[in-house]
Amino acid sequence: MTKLLIITKDKQIEQSFLEAFSKGDYELKIVEYEENIIDIANNFIPEIAVIDDSYSNTDIQNICNKLKFYSQANDIQILLLTDGDSYTQDPLAKIDGYLLRPINKKIAVATINAHMRTRNRLDMIFNKTSELAKSLYQLNVMYDTSSQLAGTLDKTKLINIMTEGLERSISYSLCAVLIFNDESDIKLIIHSLNPVSERLEQALKLRMMINYKNLFENQKQPLDFSINNIHIKKQSKHTDGIYDLKILNYDTLFCPINTSDKFFGLIEVFREDKLTSEDFTCFQTLVKQVSLPLESALLYEEITKTNKKLEKLEQLKSEFISIVSHELRTPLTAIKNSLNIMLSGKSGEMNETSTKFLNLANRNVNRLSGIINDLLDLSKIEAGKMEYRFDEFNIKDPAEQVCATLEGLAKDKNISLEIKAEDNLPKVYGDSSKIEQVIANLIANAIKFTNEDGKIKVEIKKAKPEEISMKNALKGGYLQVAVEDNGIGIKQEDIPKVFDKFQQIESSLVRKIGGTGLGLPIAKQLIEAHRGMIWVESELNHGSTFSFIIPIAKDINKFMMELDKQIQYAKYNHSNLALIRAEQQHTDELIKEISQDTFGILQKYKNAQVFTQKKEDKNTAFIILPSANKMAADIIIQKLKDYIQSNKNNYLDYNIFMSSCIYPEGALSANELIEKTTKEHDKMKTEEKV
């Protein structure tokens, strides 16, 4: 039905229109121009108006304004009835078209129809444009929300991001989210424009409960809970009113928050204005978007919980072993002492059989104490409590020491034991007592698993860099120690297991040869704490070669090892560590002064360590500050800079670059720490150049 409003005082024209539009789907209203034209238009809501140009120009302008801008007739098309030559100019372009007098019925109908079509099209375009704009806005919100969602694994934050996104995209009056953790932790989160009355709270609780029951009608519910277990969390934007039960009559959207196999909760939004299908799509999409990260968050939570439990267990185990071994030591000492007193003959003569059995007892007591020592060592290493005192030393020293101690044991089996070392070997860096322990372990093992008249050779040489198959190998190079025997060897399939705890290839051997099966795992851990590597090559019945590498005492190695050690320490003690990098070009005097701490600034920071590196024209100093946080690092940097500034006459180029990185906030590994401080440097330098 097309609604036409004809404004004329000419009866003839009125008649012509009535005749022309008598057929077809038209509704006509023919009026004269009056002040109340708006009321007429508001009652009738015409789609097209025809104005007779016999009215004055001012009147026509008035009618146009009233219809177009003040009436409820949206997008009305206005045609002017004119005689061709008395063509009225329309400076404000409020006239959409013209009808010519005298009225030709067919032309009139055609013109009206044409305008009607234009109007509908414009209508459609307008609607589409506003729809598009709205969709675009909602899409933007969704995009924004999803990128925010991706950034967190915190459940509460995820829910907040979702409700914020919903508020922006569908501007709800009230949003209620029921979220489950477990039976004892069910929350109803209410976000609303105005505060919520207590009655409404109760009603919302009940409503969510009913929604939930309906959702799982005749099915098993994921969680059986009662309304009393729901805790309410409220948040409202304004305070100028209060929401009461009336809000339940608002338009509403409802949706479960779930993935295909997990159920997290329910969400319902209320809005005073009508909600459209686009709103619903947007709502559903946003809720779906949050389900996946929620699932991840849940998994993450579980993993963190399990991890904490495992850590606690590991700690308990270490403590247990430590306490047990301590408690075992004292009685063991008493037994040992008594046996030794009897064996020494000082408590009276022993006969041959007694001596034999006392010796047997003594041997086993020794074995037991060896096991206890190993267990204690391992528990210390695993708890991060093993202390390493790194220093430069000659690797030949501990090797020769061990050979001297174990020579007797080798001689008993008529095994030859020799050491061969390359000439002019550099010193290595590490804890010599720990390295001695490793070598002793390897040689004692070799003696154990080599038959009478066998041969054991200890070889010390420079490790070839291309043969080091280790990730993150130190750049300063390594020495290699190899213990080779021609003993019983190891089966190929057993080789990967030899460094595992409590692995001794055949259990019968354990009884025959003795040992805890802890020697090699301990050796592995000790060598790894030195940034080294231990491995074995072996052929069954032909012998085995156990080799390990240990860093040469070069500045770069020492720095990396100390940094690693301090990071390990910080990790186990949950403390911080700061790495400061100071760099100076051309003159190395300043770096030397920093490394020797001529200023006395670092002295005040206990355990601070400085390492210098020279590379082409650059001089770098790394300062390790154990247990220091960002603030401490900044203070040191500032103090050093102040010192340099106040003595700048002494230096041609006093502008020294300093940057810092903090473990664990800034980086989690030695390499990352160094990388970050370097990056910071490069940034500073580019800024300097600009």
């Binding site: 306490i323 071994s325 301590h326 063991l332 000492t333 030794n340 007193i341 000082k346 007591v365 104490s369």
Partner: protein, 122 residues
């Protein structure tokens, strides 16, 4: 005159075996079963050497050692500390005690006798 050795350990069995072995070697032995007694006895009797266990009731061995070593009157008495390398002891390690030697449990009784002889023959 035979040399006097003070053995302090709350484990009577350990004290007894050490005492036996050292007496056979011709030393005179005094015994204490806690840190406080050990300290008082040391001050009163001026022994020629002390064997001190670390973990003892009342005053721990490290403290007894420190109190004696920082007192000019007693600082020349050699002290052998006996440790079981327990966690509590680890926490105390690094503190300056001034002990002349550390012996780890379980020790070889003959080694201890040798060490005692070494200090007392000097």
């Amino acid at each position: 005159m035979s040399k006097k050795i003070l053995i302090a350990d709350d484990e009577t069995d350990i004290v007894e075996t050490l005492q036996f072995m050292l007496e056979v070697e011709g030393f005179e032995c005094l015994t204490a079963y806690n840190g406080e007694d050990a300290l008082n006895l040391a001050k009163r009797e001026m022994p020629d050497l002390l064997i001190l266990d670390v973990m003892m009731p009342k005053i721990n061995g490290y403290k007894v050692c420190r109190l004696l070593k920082f007192d000019a009157k007693y600082k020349n008495i050699p002290i052998l500390m006996v440790t079981a390398r327990s966690q509590e002891e680890d926490k105390m390690i690094g503190e300056e005690t001034g002990a002349d030697e550390y012996i780890t449990k379980p020790f070889e009784i003959n080694d201890v006798v040798e060490k005692v002889k070494k200090y007392l023959e000097q």
